[in-house]
């Protein structure tokens, strides 16, 4: 019956609740229902109709805002909406917030329009609304596209371009990083990993393996090539496998469970080979992409043998330290640092994944 019902104010009203609902991709009628259930109607004595009109107003404002939200830069300088800075930031933050589940689904997928169409599967899987998924997809894509080719710190870039808060910027940085290296993330083996684990792994890698010097020609999203090449030298450890094993066993004997120790004793060769092959192969981008699969492979060995996480951690420590004690590495400073760099990330990732 109502043809037009518009409420416009000089300073756009932003209702956090309704905005949240909008961001979550609820339709207006859903939002009205939610609000009503929350007792808004009873509190204020407003009829459903009123709430609906209010919600619709808000939705309209937001949909007008959406264009601007997609480009926060514009939002800062636009004239159409007089929003105070705090609210502005809040809006952006809310808009760019995402659900880990959804993002997990998006990881490893090409951010193409084809995949965008398939978002309904994601929506189904995660139980989030399609709209919300789309928004998240678009956000990720947008952030990725803008930041991808940009020199300088990825986090800083995101922060300055999208006016996002620290935490959120970090998350986006991880996503972008994952997408840049194109790590294999969607294999079944890796399916169990949550976004949070991914984020931790990524942070470790980004911290250790990427170029530290930030300059115009260095990208935050690129691996430290020299370091990866250096890793090839770790082959030497394969030759010294016996020494290494000896030291590890010596070190771990009092600490490990008997069963695990025996397992270690038997399979040390297998383990060390897996780890070292990974290390030596990382300079190949294909292998780098499969890093996590390889890691999962390694983990499988341990899992099969029922290692507890504690023991596993001990092993990694020992493995790391003992290698350093071997003279080849001990004497070669660069090799030593590479090894440590490698192992720090590896142990971190493995532990997270375990």
């Amino acid at each position: 019956m109502t043809e037009v019902d518009v409420f416009i104010s000089n300073y756009p009203l932003v209702d956090p609740e309704i905005f949240q609902l909008w961001v979550e991709g609820h339709t207006a009628s859903e939002a009205v229902a939610v609000l009503n259930d929350k007792g808004l109607g009873i509190e204020t004595g407003a009829t459903l109709e009123l709430i609906a009109s209010d919600v619709l107003d808000h939705y309209r404002t937001y949909s007008l805002l959406e264009k601007l939200l997609s480009n926060p830069n514009k939002l800062q300088e636009q004239l159409a909406f007089q929003i105070d800075p705090q609210t502005r930031l809040w809006l952006i933050e809310k808009y760019y917030e995402f659900d880990d589940e959804v993002i997990r689904e998006l990881l490893g997928k090409k951010l193409s329009s084809k995949n965008r169409k398939d978002l309904d599967e994601v929506a189904e899987k995660t139980g989030k609304s399609l709209k919300s998924c789309r928004r998240q997809f678009d956000n990720v894509k947008r952030v990725f596209k803008t930041v991808e080719e940009m020199p300088g710190s990825i986090i800083e870039n995101i922060k300055s371009l999208f006016y996002l808060p620290d935490e959120l910027a970090k998350k986006y940085a991880c996503i972008v990083f994952l997408a840049c290296i194109r790590f294999e993330t969607s294999k079944k083996k890796l399916q169990y990993l949550s976004f949070n684990s991914w984020k931790k792994c990524c942070e470790a890698i980004m911290e250790q393996w990427t170029y530290k010097i930030t300059g115009p020609e260095y990208y935050d999203t690129e691996m430290d090539k020299e370091f990866l090449l250096e890793l090839r030298e770790l082959k030497i450890l394969l030759d010294r496998e016996k020494d290494h094993k000896h030291l590890v066993c010596l070190y771990l004997k009092p600490k490990l469970l008997q069963k695990n120790f025996i397992d270690l004793d038997c399979n040390f060769r297998l383990y060390t080979r897996a780890i070292l092959t990974l290390a030596t192969a990382l300079h190949r981008s294909r292998d780098m992409k499969n890093l996590f699969i390889d890691l999962a492979q390694i983990l499988d060995y341990f899992k099969q043998n029922n290692w507890s996480i504690h023991d596993f951690e001990l092993f990694l420590q020992a493995y790391n330290q003992c290698a350093v004690e071997i003279d080849v590495i001990r004497t070669d400073a660069t090799l030593k640092s590479s090894w440590e760099k490698f192992m720090r990330v590896l142990s971190r990732c493995l532990l997270v994944m375990y």
């Binding site: 019956m1 037009v4 019902d5 518009v6 009123l50 209010d54 007008l64 636009q78 004239l79 159409a80």
Partner: protein, 1458 residues
């Protein structure tokens, strides 16, 4: 006055992609003004083009400038196809044509004329098809060449204010009257060419046309205003009737006024400042010589007088660079004099104002002189030096004074920089002072002094507001407390002065062990003690008569202070103290007594008149002050009467002594003698004589230039000089000064009795001679009574009218001092200025339509409100054959206006206020309606006094008694004819509610009741007006929004028949509306409606009328009778009783909610002529009765009843449609929250229950603003349109204002406040400018202490609970920015937007479309405002929203202003 327009296009941004293939745009710009077009280069392949063009120059005539908008069109260059338009920017150049306020004046003293008025900034590019498409950065400047062609068609410089009140910072000197204009043009939408051109082209043509029409309209109205002698148009409204095929009719109405910027008055002050400084220097340099001269003069008495006169003349000449400057000078002088006296007498006391210390020093020096001279001693001699020194110091003092003020104000703003500046200034001045000082006496103590002063500076200044606040609050407290509290204040003053006192005392001692001074000092201290004692137990008795007299004086002065603005009060306080300290000299008391006696005598002699005065005072001053004045009154009476005889005697004796001395003195004495005689006989005579005296004064002035100055000098002196005989010279000085002070005060604080009496004295003394000879005439005696009355009333009226305006004190003081300056013509001129917002009655009467479109007036302007008058007519449109002569439309409106006028006349009113016109169109039927409030404008008073003076000037030589008499008679007639007016007006301001007409003589049946407050005047049972509630109207409780809607179906007819039907139906509709409104009002328990707005709209099937208003309970009106239910169906008794009960409950509840304290008596006072309570006496013929009785005949009525009872805005909302919320005691508006627009369009079905929709609309507004509670919704405006047969479109505009508990939170808030303004105004305003605004605020504050004040001073502000710094552009439909002060009016803006779309689906449906459209419009408006350098827009409104759905087309035209 041709003008040169310079345009520069620097860059664009966020342009749309016009070239699909490359995703860029090759943009260039076309700039068009009039017929000239320029193009910029093409900026290839960029969405953010940089053109950085040179200045494009247009040389156009100014009329063209006014008519034509500057069109800036962004284009996309295409190599092969035609270039595409991106969008357009229309720049209204009118704001640039306005004089930059203060600019001219600034030139003189700042020397910076770089601040050219310009538009500069990012402005959204708007396209009628796509909305905003990017922004363009434009800078536009206009240079005007002056041209004084009398036949010009342009009206540059006429300011237009959409706000229906006198804008802040201005005051209306003259209200000239109604201006209107009407232009007809073809609507491009309906031209044949439209059939072949693109929608965009036609839209743009239309938009351009609207711009042009608006410009032309405005220009023409401006010309009319200029012809009337005005310089601005207030309450300007533009309306467009889109008559379809027959074209567009653009109408504009407004009120032409002569606005004077209050700042303008003050600005010259500044310049005068400088002048004064220079003068000061000169004076300083010449001081020595002067003093020498003086001594010489002293030896030669007669000569000296002449010389002095010369001096004076010089001074006065110097001080006459311009009127304003003179005014400023005079002001300064008056203030100075006060200061002077202060400093001279109090010395230290002044330290409250540290500068005073300097003054002190100077003064001491000066004093020393006279004292030294005294040794040689001639009685009259001291006069001269004192005078001279006075004048000297006056200039210096003026500097100080102003510095002081500025300091205070700036301080209050917590602007450190300015403070420092001022401090520097002060230092400078101090140095200057120092120079002479050093010459004369080396002052070792000066340095410390100064530092002290500086230190205490800030402290004091900070303290002051508080103190003043205290004062104010104290004033409100009961009368007895007054004494004590005031003394307290003094004490406190004294206390923190004391420290410095000691310093200064030492100083003084250093300088000269002057006995007198030390004595003074001692006295000072003594006084402090004494006051403290007084506090403990009023020890008036101890000190005896003197003290009592002093006390009385004190009280008077205090009351004066009270009435005066708080910030300035400190200045006056010292004055108040001065009398205190003076008493050391016994003669002093006599002086005071002489001053007071006159008032007292007046009182005693004619206690009647006096009481009248008092009452008037009360009314004028408002409740808080009444108690005070009363108390002072009582005290005075008690004490004065014993003193009286003494005083008189002393006066006489002294007079006798002086007889031989001076001619004027003689005169003086005579007059005083005559006075005393008269006192004995009749007081009224004084008044009589006063008027004559004025004549005499002028006459004198003309006759002898010497005498010109003579009265000046003599006037203050006479009484004092009389006393000087008995006393020594210091007292003479003091005498002079107190007198002066008093006079000044009297003028300044025109509210006090002094205002009336001091001038009297003044004049009497001056003109004594002539009087003496002439007064004797028998005519005089005969006439005694009437003139007295007459003269008293004008004064009062003036007072009341003055009361709210900052300018008045100045003006008054000007007159006062000016008079003393003795320049008759100037005096007359000044008077003109003083009489504020006056209307020349003759002019006004001659005006065709005595209409004012303003809705808000200064108190006292409106004497009585008659009621709402309205007229409507139904017309059938015909195609206008000749667009140049829109005769038919003109005649339609003039018919309406005539009708309104005759209505108003029949109500015995002389003006229609809050006049508005509207029209509604449907097909070829047009309903025109005009509406206003008939009221009696109170221009007699101002007029009268003016006339009197005029006459006096004209007929100086001839005895103007007869003339006078006739005038008075006529005046009396004027006063008497409206029943009771004279009496009532004098008695209380409830008169405004009194009926201006005799209830028997009016063709309308009304019930009148006795006024509850005064029991004299008759008041209507219900008062309805279209204006804002006048300030000071006696109301209780809160106001609330009230509305009624009627919808009537129309038959399906065409042409004449439908027109007939509509016109037949209109009265019924109106009646229904009225009835509903009244009923609602009753249920709300209120008895008056303000801000009433009617709106009619016709559609194809129905006609809708809405009436909205703000209900208020006026305490002077009888409380409404409880509605009673009547039913014909007796079966329903039970139900009926039930409903009745519910009804009563709601009424009760409403009363509670709106805090109406309803005394039971109110009801009883109701006139007995009809017993409304009886349900049986249902008689529809009497208009008012059925308003109290609700008929419940059928379920429908029941429903109506239910409607009447429900709908109360939720908690925390205060809803009104006026600009301020009446009766908000506990809360005040502190923040501009939101301007909102709600557009609501709904299918409308057969039931035609429109109120449901309105309810729904309001509720949704409440609901949407729920997070802003507590807030006030102000200025709600409704608009109804019937765009389709079955659709109704409602629009609400309004303003949500944040409310908060009033808290006195001095500085913390000031800073934030300050920041706001700094944002935009760059601090280029002069401190003085600010001064006046603050002054303004404070002045008004007093009156609106409880109501949300428009001029809410910064000192009482608290941000709204959700703390948010102000940013962006505030847009408000109100005429003021709550929580802000309007620093500058930049000009008015009109916008017209047409928006069309073919993709309504994608834009989120119709709602989404409108939403984005209105948002964009607001954005554009804001951008324009920002580009003009403003940060707020007031009086914003959408005039028209035309929405054609089926065409996917939508049009809005808007008018708005900054």
């Amino acid at each position: 006055m041709p003008g040169k327009v310079k345009v520069k296009i620097s860059s664009g941004k966020n342009l749309p992609v016009m070239d699909r293939s490359s995703d860029t745009t090759d943009a260039y710009v076309e700039i068009k003004l009039g017929s000239t077009t320029y193009k910029t280069d093409v900026c290839r392949k960029s969405l953010h083009p940089q053109w950085n063009t040179d200045w494009y120059r247009f040389e156009v005539d100014d009329s063209e400038l006014q008519d034509e908008p500057l069109q800036i069109r962004l284009m996309d260059h295409d190599t092969y196809s035609a270039n595409d338009a991106i969008g357009k920017v229309y720049l209204n150049l009118n704001p640039l044509l306005l004089p930059v306020d203060g600019q001219l004046v600034k030139h003189g003293f700042n020397g910076d004329n770089t601040t050219h008025h310009e538009i500069s900034g990012w402005i959204p590019v708007y396209d009628t098809m796509h909305g905003i498409r990017g922004e363009v950065n434009v800078t536009v400047k206009v240079e005007l060449f002056s041209d004084f062609n009398r036949f010009r068609q342009s009206s540059c410089g006429v300011q237009f204010f959409y706000s229906p009140t006198v804008p802040q910072g201005y005051y209306a000197k003259l209200i000239h009257g109604f201006v209107e204009e009407l232009i007809v043009n073809d609507d491009p939408e309906y031209q044949w060419i439209d059939k072949i051109r693109t929608p965009r082209a036609s839209n743009e043509a239309r938009q351009t046309l609207f711009f042009k029409l608006s410009g032309e309209l405005q220009r023409k109205i401006g010309v009319k205003a200029l012809n009337l002698g005005g310089n601005a148009v207030i309450g300007y409204r533009q309306n467009y009737d889109l008559e379809g095929e027959s074209g567009i009719v653009a109408r504009g109405i407004g009120t032409a006024v002569t606005l004077v910027k209050t700042a303008n008055v003050s600005l010259p002050l500044n310049s005068v400042f400088d002048d004064a400084k220079e003068e000061l220097k000169n004076l300083k340099y010449s001081q020595n010589s002067l003093s020498k001269k003086m001594t010489v003069l002293k030896s030669k008495l007669g000569e000296s007088i002449g010389e002095e006169i010369d001096e004076d003349v010089k001074m006065s000449k110097k001080k006459k660079p311009g009127e304003s400057s003179v005014m400023a000078e005079l002001l300064a002088r008056s203030v100075i004099q006060a200061h002077n006296s202060l400093s001279c007498i109090l010395e230290v006391q002044s330290s409250s104002h540290d500068e005073n210390e300097n003054d002190d020093d100077e003064d001491t020096l000066e004093k020393l002189e006279p004292i030294a001279n005294l040794l040689s001693k001639t009685v009259s001699e001291p006069n001269l030096p004192s005078e001279a020194s006075e004048s000297d110091s006056s200039s210096s003092c003026s500097d100080f004074e102003y510095d002081d003020e500025t300091l205070e104000y700036t301080n209050s703003n917590v602007d450190l920089e300015t403070i420092s500046n001022i401090v520097k200034d002060v230092e400078m001045i101090q140095k200057k002072n120092k120079v002479p000082l050093l010459k004369q006496v080396s002052l070792p103590a000066l340095g410390p002094n100064r530092t002290d002063s500086l230190d205490s500076f800030s402290e004091n200044v900070f303290k002051f507001p508080e103190v003043t606040n205290k004062n104010l609050s104290i004033f409100t407290t009961c009368s007895e407390d007054n004494l004590l509290s005031q003394e307290n204040n003094f004490l406190s003053d004294n206390y923190y002065v004391e420290d410095i006192n000691t310093n200064t005392t030492s100083d003084n001692n250093f300088q000269k062990p002057n006995l007198e001074q030390t004595i003074e000092q001692e006295k000072n201290e003594e006084l402090v003690h004494g006051i403290s004692e007084v506090i403990k137990e009023v020890e008036i008795k101890e000190k005896g008569l003197i003290k009592t007299a002093m006390q009385a004086m004190l009280l008077e002065k205090v009351s004066i202070i009270g009435t005066y603005t708080p910030p300035t009060s400190p200045v006056y306080k010292p004055k108040v103290e001065s009398p205190d300290i003076k008493p050391q000299v016994t003669a002093e008391t006599a002086i005071k007594l002489t001053d007071t006696p006159k008032t007292k005598i007046a009182k005693s002699a004619s206690s009647v008149s006096f009481s009248d005065y008092l009452k008037r005072n009360e009314t004028v001053l408002g409740a808080p002050f009444t108690s005070l004045s009363l108390s002072s009154e009582v005290i005075k009476r008690q004490k004065s009467q014993p003193c009286l005889s003494d005083n008189v005697k002393s006066c006489e004796s002294s007079l006798n002594e002086h007889k031989s001395r001076f001619r004027f003195l003689r005169r003086n004495r005579k007059t005083s003698e005559g006075d005393t005689k008269e006192h004995k006989s009749i007081i009224s005579r004084i008044f009589r004589s006063r008027s004559e005296k004025a004549l005499v004064v002028e006459k004198e002035c003309k006759e002898a230039t010497e005498s010109k100055t003579n009265p000046d000098t003599s006037l203050p002196t006479p009484s004092s000089s009389v006393l000087t005989d008995t006393n020594n010279t210091p007292c003479n000085l003091s005498n002079n000064t107190p007198d002066n002070i008093k006079i000044d005060q009297g003028y300044n604080c025109s509210k006090n009795k002094h205002a009336c009496i001091t001038p009297d004295r003044h004049n009497t003394s001056a003109s004594g001679d002539q009087n003496g000879t002439r007064v004797g005439s028998p005519e005089h005696h005969k006439m005694d009574h009437s003139p007295a009355r007459l003269s008293s009333t004008p004064c009062i009226h003036r007072r009341s009218s003055d009361s709210d305006l900052s300018i008045t004190p100045k003006g008054n003081s000007l007159t006062g001092s000016d008079r003393s300056g003795g320049n008759p013509s100037g005096h007359f001129m000044r008077n003109n200025v003083v009489l504020r917002s006056q209307i020349h009655q003759e002019n006004f009467d001659m005006l065709e339509y005595p209409f004012l479109t303003m809705t808000k007036f200064s108190p006292g302007f409106v004497a009585q409100i008659g009621g709402v008058v309205s007229a409507r007519s139904v017309k059938k449109l015909e195609i206008i054959s000749n667009a140049d002569e829109p005769e038919s439309r003109d005649t339609w409106w003039s018919e309406l206006r005539m009708e309104i006028r005759s209505h108003a006349r029949s109500l015995n009113c002389n003006a229609v206020l809050g006049y508005s016109e509207s029209s509604s169109l449907c097909d070829d039927i047009c309903v025109l309606s005009a509406c206003g409030t008939a009221a009696l404008i109170d221009f007699h008073c101002t007029e009268e006094s003016d006339e009197l003076r005029q006459n006096t000037v004209k007929d100086i030589m001839s005895v103007s008694l007869e003339r006078d008499r006739t005038i008075t008679n006529s005046n009396n007639k004027i006063f008497d004819s409206p029943e009771h007016t004279v009496n009532n007006q004098v008695i209380s301001n409830c008169t405004i509610t009194h009926l201006p007409y005799d209830s028997n003589n009016v063709p309308i049946k009304t019930t009148a009741a006795k006024c509850v407050l005064c029991h004299k005047g008759k008041v209507p049972e219900i008062l309805i007006a279209t204006i804002e509630p006048p300030e000071g109207i006696p109301s209780t409780g809160k106001g609330c929004f009230i509305d009624s809607y009627i919808c009537r179906p129309l038959k399906d007819a065409k042409g004449e028949s439908i027109a007939k039907e509509i016109s037949d139906g209109l009265p019924f509709l109106e009646y229904e509306l009225h009835r509903l409104l009244i009923n609602k009002l009753k249920i709300k328990g209120m008895n008056a409606i303000f801000g009433l707005k009617f709106r009619m709209s016709i559609g194809e099937r129905m006609i809708i009328g809405i009436a909205t208003g703000t209900a208020v309970f006026l305490s002077s009106l009888p409380s409404p009778v409880l509605p009673t239910l009547v039913s014909d169906q007796m079966t329903d008794d039970k139900k009926l009783a039930h409903i009745q009960k519910r009804l009563n409950d709601t009424v009760k509840k409403n009363k509670e909610i709106y805090q109406i304290k309803d005394d039971a008596q109110n009801g009883k006072v109701l006139s007995e002529d009809e017993s409304e309570d009886e349900p049986t006496s249902l008689d529809l013929s009497t208009g008012n009765k059925d308003c109290c009785v609700l008929e419940v005949d059928d379920p429908e009525d029941e429903e109506v009843l239910r409607l009447l009872m429900e709908e109360r805005p939720p908690e925390g909302f205060h809803v009104v449609n006026t600009e301020i919320v009446p009766g908000l005691d506990d809360l005040e508006i502190i923040k501009n929250l939101q301007m909102f627009t709600q557009i609501y369009r709904v299918k409308f079905h057969q039931s035609y229950n429109i109120s449901n929709h309105f309810q729904r609309l309001l509720q949704s507004v409440y609901f949407k603003l729920r997070r802003m509670v507590p807030c006030a919704l102000c200025n709600l405006q409704f608009r109804v349109d019937l765009p389709e047969t079955d659709e109704v479109q409602l629009c609400v505009f309004g303003m949500a204002l944040g409310l908060g508990k009033p808290q006195k939170k001095g500085k913390a808030i000031l800073t934030s406040k300050r920041n706001d303004e700094d944002l935009i105004f760059k601090l280029d305003e002069d401190p003085i400018l600010e001064n006046t605004t603050v002054l303004n605020q404070n002045r008004s504050l007093k009156y609106k202490q409880r109501s949300p004040s428009k001029y809410r001073p910064q000192s009482m502000k608290q941000r709204h609970v959700p703390h948010r710094d102000r940013f962006g552009v505030d847009i408000t439909p109100l005429s003021y920015v709550p929580g802000g002060v309007i620093e500058r009016y930049l000009g008015n803006l009109n916008f017209f937007f047409i928006r069309e779309t073919t993709s309504i689906r994608e834009e989120g449906g119709l709602s989404g479309f409108i939403h984005s459209f209105v948002t964009e419009v607001l954005a554009i408006v804001r951008a324009h405002v920002t580009a003009l350098g403003g940060n707020a827009m007031v009086a914003f409104f959408l005039t028209e929203i035309v929405l054609l759905h089926n065409l996917h087309k939508n049009q809005v035209s808007e008018l708005l202003k900054v």
